[in-house]
């Protein structure tokens, strides 16, 4: 029978990439002087597992490559060899190569094994160098078949099998072995019972029988030794062939058979290899691993849901007013069930942020070598869970921020010594939950941001005016503006702004925000705030004209009825609302969304104040409705991205409602600083009210 194992390839790849990550982490620890045996063990196990799986799927390059890695690691494990800098670096490179090989197989491509072969040689050199003698292919499976040139034909075997008394204790069972032997051909048995002691002395856990077996089967010796393979040290075993002379012609035919047999084997293997390429071709589907505990919980919840459902349908069969209370209870129960179920299902998507953090040790290792900076990476809050999709999208911004900290935040060792700091700089990654948000911080203990230089540069770039009075925060935020930094990178400061606007855009695109804290000479922290999930949100429903829209509840600061006295126009199309000590720009949604082009009478109109990072804007709306949790559906699936809209949802009555994207709205309303020109004076809309 044949069993199709291709369905397990996906999980093998996924697992192997995880193993590679773990190996990398371990190797980096080694490179920092750690000598813990368990670390080496972990790396060894990673290589070992990949080798086993690789061989099972016929990825020979992978298994032979990992085999050498494994031998090398085994030597390290046994203390025969030291994990020195050079060998760790080679092993790190090997991890990269393996990753490439596996990716190629995953994509259904024939991998380029040149690099692997070259690196394998290097690994072998290190391995052999360690023992002083070059090992003679211990792993070689090729054994010269003895008796291949015999002139006699085997027609059967006689076997003497005398198990030692303890044979049963390893779980082996002579009767099953004999049955397997019988499967090879006609068998005659002679049982010897003379070892059986008197009943009183007999121990049931011991084996007292022995056998002489005649087997009429023209099989190879291996077929028989294989059956006794596990017990050869627990028994007396004598296997002798029963032969008869062969005629010349017959022998030739046998040879021929053997040859064609081999040929067929080769042919098949070739086919297998081709199949590898073909079958792996479909794009790997993203999978999530879920603990069975979580699944069990969900199954329990579904069970409760079913109970509630049957209770409700029973009620519905003959409903009278007397049962109204019961119906209400049932509906409450249904609400609780579905909420729990939703939370349970959502929790499947949650993964610890360590998945995102894990790539950084390697990156910091590599970059610090390149830049000749000494850097220690500290992480905390790795267990903080967040939605897998959010995490995937936050990877690039995080890499950017960490690189930014290393490149521009941290000083060179000399500069640090001069500043009275330790030579080794620290980059810290931290994550924690705050309400329905995840906060991820990227900090360094470097030189900090120079407020004056940023301000001067922003004036040069035309982002602010010299007369603008800005708080430190507002100045730092200028780093996140497009156009703050250009290709001109004369100072480390200018470099600091490169691409940070992209980081900000990405994070805002996820419904998050980014803040900067910094102290000159002490360090800088970028704090990213992200929603826990992109799948649902707590929404505030409201109306503009006849259309219902939704705002994420988390973005709403407050809503108020406007007082005419607090409204003041600045530019032709921009009006501000004074709220306590702040001027907040007003976005008229009916105008922005072209629902009604007539300017609205603002007196007594409703204003919803929302925040984006540290900026506030007011949205002019017609009517506030209720709040509810909504499931986010992408508009892009069947339509396309719409500025100012982050998605859609389906309301209880089956109609579709749009979810607003505050960052996009600001962009549309030309309140964004990037739009330059006449709106420039609006750049800092959080302008602290000055004394008049």
């Amino acid at each position: 029978m044949s069993v199709d194992l291709d369905q397990f390839k996906g999980i093998f790849f996924e697992e192997s990439f995880e193993n590679l990550d773990a190996m990398e982490t371990g190797l980096l620890a080694l490179s920092e002087g750690e000598t813990d045996l368990e670390t080496v063990n972990t790396i060894f196990r990673g290589a070992h597992s990949i080798k086993g799986g690789g061989a099972a799927f016929g990825f020979d390059v992978v298994s032979s490559f990992t085999h050498v890695m494994e031998e090398l690691l085994d030597k390290m494990r046994n203390g025969e060899m030291e994990a020195d800098f050079a060998s760790v670096n080679i092993l790190l490179e090997s991890v990269d190569v393996l990753r490439e090989l596996l990716k190629a197989f995953q994509d259904g491509l024939e991998p380029d094994d040149q690099r692997a072969l070259a690196l394998k040689l290097k690994l072998e050199e290190i391995r052999d160098g360690a023992s002083g003698v070059s090992e003679i292919a211990t792993d070689s499976q090729i054994e010269v078949e003895a008796g291949d040139t015999r002139d006699e034909e085997i027609i059967g075997w006689t076997i003497h099998f005398l198990p030692y008394e303890n044979l049963l204790q390893t779980g082996n069972d002579p009767s099953l072995m004999l049955r397997e032997l019988a499967g090879l051909g006609e068998m005659t048995l002679q049982v010897h019972t003379q070892r059986i002691p008197p009943l009183a002395e007999m121990e049931p856990e011991k084996c007292y029988l022995s056998w002489d077996i005649e087997l009429k089967a023209p099989v190879e010796r291996d077929a028989i030794t294989e059956i006794f393979e596990w017990v050869e040290d627990d028994c007396d075993l004598d296997i002798q062939p029963v032969v008869q002379p062969v005629e010349r012609r017959k022998m030739e035919r046998r040879d021929e058979e053997r040859r064609t047999g081999e040929g067929a084997g080769l042919e098949r293997r070739k086919e297998d290899r081709r199949a590898v390429g073909k079958d792996a071709a479909p794009a790997p589907s993203a999978t999530i691993r879920v603990s069975t505990e979580r699944i069990d919980e969900i199954i329990d919840m579904v069970g409760e849901l079913v109970i509630t459902q049957s209770m409700l349908s029973q009620l519905g069969e003959d409903l009278d007013l007397a049962k109204l209370e019961k119906l209400r209870e049932g509906l409450e129960q249904l609400e609780r069930n579905s909420r729990e179920l939703q939370e349970g299902v959502m929790s499947i998507r949650m993964q610890p942020i360590s998945f995102a953090f894990n790539r950084f040790p390697r990156m910091v290792h590599d970059v610090s070598q390149k830049l000749s900076k000494q850097i220690r990476l500290e992480t905390s809050g790795e267990d903080t869970e967040m939605d897998k999709t959010v995490m995937e999208k936050i990877n690039d911004p995080l890499v950017h921020l960490v690189r930014n900290s290393i490149d521009h935040g941290l000083e060179t060792p000399d500069e640090r010594l001069e500043a009275g700091k330790e030579e080794e700089g620290i980059v810290r990654l931290n994550a924690y939950h705050q309400g329905s948000f995840v906060i991820i911080e990227v900090s360094d203990d470097g030189s900090g941001l120079d407020r004056e230089r940023i301000f001067t540069k922003a004036i040069e770039r035309g982002l602010v005016k010299e007369s603008d009075e800005l708080s430190d925060d507002q100045v730092f935020r200028l780093l996140l503006e497009a156009g703050f930094s250009t290709a001109e990178q004369v100072s480390d400061l200018s470099g600091r702004g490169v691409g940070l606007d992209v980081v900000r855009k990405n994070i805002e695109g996820l419904g998050g925000s980014i803040d900067i804290r910094s102290e000159l000479g002490v360090g800088t922290t970028f704090a990213i705030r992200l929603p826990l999930t992109l799948a649902v949100l707590d929404g505030q429903l409201f109306k503009v004209g006849n259309d219902t829209f939704i705002l994420p509840l988390s973005s709403i600061v407050e809503s108020l009825q406007m007082d005419q006295k607090c409204i003041s126009g600045v530019a032709s199309d921009i009006e501000l609302y004074r709220l306590r000590d702040e001027y907040i720009p007003i976005i008229d949604l009916s105008k922005t969304f072209s629902i009604n082009e007539n300017p609205k009478n603002m007196e007594n109109a409703l204003l919803v104040v929302v925040e984006l990072g540290e900026r506030h804007v007011g949205l002019l709306i017609d009517e506030l409705l209720g709040q509810q949790q909504v499931v986010i559906k992408s508009l892009e699936t069947n339509y396309q991205r719409v500025t100012g809209i982050s998605g859609a949802t389906i309301l209880g009555d089956g109609t579709v409602s749009l979810i607003l994207d505050v960052a996009g709205l600001i962009e549309m309303s030309h309140l964004d600083q990037n739009n330059g020109g006449k709106q420039q004076k609006m750049a800092n809309n959080n302008l602290v009210l000055q004394e008049q």
Partner: protein, 120 residues
């Protein structure tokens, strides 16, 4: 039909072995390391245990030793899944009380043939 416990830290290997054994009607329980397997073994009986050697928390050899200490597993066939073809490793397995070994690369037909030897 027999009850089989399969222990491997690689889910892919575990699944392949399970899938293969289930395809001929065995009932398979999976554990991802020796610790977990021992926990399961404490409350269950099996007709066969197939375990990997290199695993975190508790390796295969330790698991075999501990299982042999349990009354329920005194004679239960225990097979080691190993990539090592070396005699040394095999002997270590025997010494720990293993019934036999299956040398990787994993091959479904081979697995079924060999399990027959201990399950009948």
């Amino acid at each position: 039909m027999s009850k089989v416990l399969i222990v491997d830290d690689m889910a892919s290997m575990r699944k392949m072995v399970s899938f293969t054994l289930e395809s001929v009607g065995h009932e398979v329980t999976q554990a991802s390391d020796g610790d977990e397997a021992l926990g399961i073994a404490n409350n269950n009986t099996f007709d066969l245990v197939v375990t990997d050697v290199n695993m975190p928390n508790m390796d295969g050899l330790t698991l075999v030793k501990k299982l042999r200490g349990l009354a329920n597993f005194k004679f239960t066939p225990i097979l080691l899944l190993t990539t090592e073809a070396g005699t040394e490793k095999k002997m270590a397995g025997k010494a720990a009380g293993a019934t036999g070994w299956l040398v990787k690369p994993f091959n479904p037909d081979k697995l079924l043939a060999t399990t027959k030897r201990v399950l009948g």
